[in-house]
Symmetry: C2
Subunit: 417 residues, 2 copies
């Protein structure tokens, strides 16, 4: 391995207007997606790129937080940095002045996500391998040294994490077939909130024709009947065996969630996503008990593992949806996946990265931890802006082969500010 | 009442270096305090000032978030704005693009605190009364229209809040004596983390001599014996009947908190503050059960009422310490106090405002809701920077008489950036 030193850090406020109701949900009007981009320059010409998602407004704030937090990465050797990354990432998360602004949530934690992802991207490029390969080639000890278990000790220790990796080493070959067959996707773009019924009908047919086995519908209308009508419309098209997920994007109060889950139960959704406020562990716990056999998915707005551990302990979540652009990047995502594995919960990432990074991570989760290869969200809005857009064929993510995290953006198309 | 229109909004990044270990705790090195200041200009010359606290780094981020969020206050009449403030504050909290950065936490919510406080300051100045008077003069209906109960409905409804205010109207006179006698203070500046033993000893004696009935010590050393030694030293000076609070500032894991609470129990602290990570409801719940009769205080890092409600439901907190510069300002503080009142918990604010605004709010809590007049934290570091610094005599806050929230800063001394 060659020595590669970080010589400079730049940020980019990259904005992408969305068209025609794409990206809309019950609480987000969906006019714009944006990435707060971290670019690590090196003495060898290669560059590490990290991203985290925002909805445009305030993306600049995340970029500024990246500048504050990343300053002390300058002059570090990438291999040395990554040999002890759990300690480094924690020291950034606990930077005394910035910690007050969270801790471990909000703008500062989003910034950390972008920085951490840039470090992993640079590392994988330095070794000239895609992220999934990089991670699979590490020993259990090296993997665990990437992670920060602070405040998790009562639920997941370093030793337990080591044991999960070690226990799955012998059977890896059995699961590596996924690298050839690809990881299944599901289609989120069938039923954005602002789409008309007819458009949803057409999209659903297209999704099925193109090989997707599962699709998602946005719910959370002021008018509950609209939700029920659209859900039933989808069920009719997909058939009784098809997989449909419903996503309320936090729109309901607990009382509304109770009522709407009862109204939507007959169409048998695979999960109900973000039924109410993402901090409300108790509300999700009560709902989870009451709506059996319906199940709850959440995580896109859970900012750290302390909160995830509370959701798990309360049995308030059935499908964990961590996002490496909301949590502190690749490493906190891996820790979240270990936590989920220990407690027997499937990991179905939310893809703030449009699936670019998570397509690597779900392969790793499956092969190295034995997580079920369920399916990964597919959102193609920003395809044209990536240098190596994820390729989904016949409803299946094709295993990426380019070095890094697949998150490099094409300079020409990213409308920076 | 005259019509007063908001004609412009300015922000100020005001920084205040601290000297000599003041402000230090187990996780914050304490070199600097800062306020992200909102200034509402009007057509009548008077100005509304709002503040929220940060520890310096990143204060500029909060100022920028204020600029984004406050833009639509321009051209509004202050009386009209405040007549329906619950709806306005919620619409700012849920601004679609910014909401992704939280929701309801971090930089964006700190910005909202500063904005909301500026609105209340302007309103009180427009009516030429101090905040406590302004609030006491409102009817229960007017008070409740200031508040946002969204996502709280399962624990506190608008009707329940109305009932709390109405039920205490008839007995207000009984509690109004506090306006003459003043509200008791407690001294936080006895035992900052970096202070040497001898200094703590001197400070404690000074605090007792100057009339304080309660004092606080920072704990959370890597070396647990240091904590125990210092706590016992304070107990010796204060005597067995004196009130001492211990503050760990989130430093301990659950296992460490268990061990340290056992070691500190013999010196009989009045409460243990922030024993572990502020998002960890489960850890606080378990600790609360195990350390009886010791009691837990927390709130300075609880960003919204959804989380407070979860702490209360879990019986994970005994003393609520909401801060109107962490929550979304005066109005979310009042809602927190109503929630606490319903569940029988004392409110002992954390004073990110150095007590300037909270000295009004605790008077209101006592008179209008029947909260016990326990004591209010006193931190004098920034006295000289306020136009009307809180006056504590013989350990008691003197009731402020100047119009507004007492949070105007002297321009000359605030080292803005």
């Amino acid at each position: 391995m060659q020595n590669i030193t970080i010589t400079g850090i730049q940020t980019k406020d990259a904005r992408f207007p969305l068209e025609d109701g794409a990206g809309s949900d019950a609480v987000h009007s969906g006019a714009e997606y944006a990435f707060a981009v971290t670019q690590l320059q090196t003495d060898k010409g290669i560059q590490g790129t990290g991203i985290c998602l925002t909805l445009g407004t305030g993306n600049q704030l995340v970029c500024e937080a990246i500048e504050y937090l990343s300053a002390h990465l300058r002059d570090l050797d990438i291999e040395e940095l990554m040999s002890n990354f759990g300690v480094v990432s924690r020291s950034m998360a606990d930077e005394p002045g910035m910690r007050w602004l969270g801790p471990h949530k909000g703008v500062v934690h989003l910034a950390l996500a972008s920085i951490v992802n840039a470090c992993f991207d640079l590392w994988a490029k330095a070794r000239q391998v895609p992220l999934w390969r990089l991670l699979l080639d590490l020993t259990p000890e090296q993997l665990v040294d990437l992670l920060d278990f602070h405040y998790l000790e009562d639920h997941l220790t370093r030793e337990e994490a080591l044991a999960i990796f070690r226990d799955h080493l012998a059977t890896r070959a059995r699961r590596e077939g996924v690298l050839r067959t690809g990881y299944p996707g599901y289609d989120t773009s069938v039923g954005w909130f602002q789409y008309e019924d007819e458009r949803i009908r057409e999209n659903a047919k297209k999704a099925l024709d193109s090989g997707f086995q599962a699709i998602k519908l946005k719910v959370g209308s002021k008018d509950g009947e609209r939700d029920v009508r659209r859900a039933n419309l989808l069920r009719e098209i997909v058939g009784s065996q098809g997989t449909i997920m419903l996503d309320a994007n936090q729109q309901w109060t607990l009382a509304e969630a109770r009522k709407m889950c009862a109204a939507l139960a007959p169409m048998n959704p695979y999960w109900v996503e973000e039924p109410t406020h993402p901090d409300d562990i108790q509300a999700h716990r009560e709902l989870a008990r009451e709506i059996v056999p319906m199940r709850i998915a959440l995580g896109e707005h859970v900012p750290n593992l302390v909160l995830f551990k509370n959701f798990i302990e309360a049995k308030a979540v059935h499908f964990m949806q961590p996002d490496c652009t909301r949590l502190a990047g690749v490493s906190e995502f891996i820790t979240a996946s270990l936590l989920a594995r220990k407690y027997g919960l499937p990991v179905v990432p939310h893809v703030g990265d449009m699936g670019q990074i998570h397509q690597h991570l779900v392969l790793f989760n499956h092969i190295a931890m034995g997580h079920e290869a369920l399916f990964l969200e597919h959102i193609p809005h920003l395809r044209k802006h990536f240098c190596h857009p994820a390729t989904v064929s016949n409803g299946v993510y094709q295993t990426p082969q380019e070095p890094g995290l697949s998150s490099d953006l094409r300079e020409a198309t990213a409308g920076g500010r």
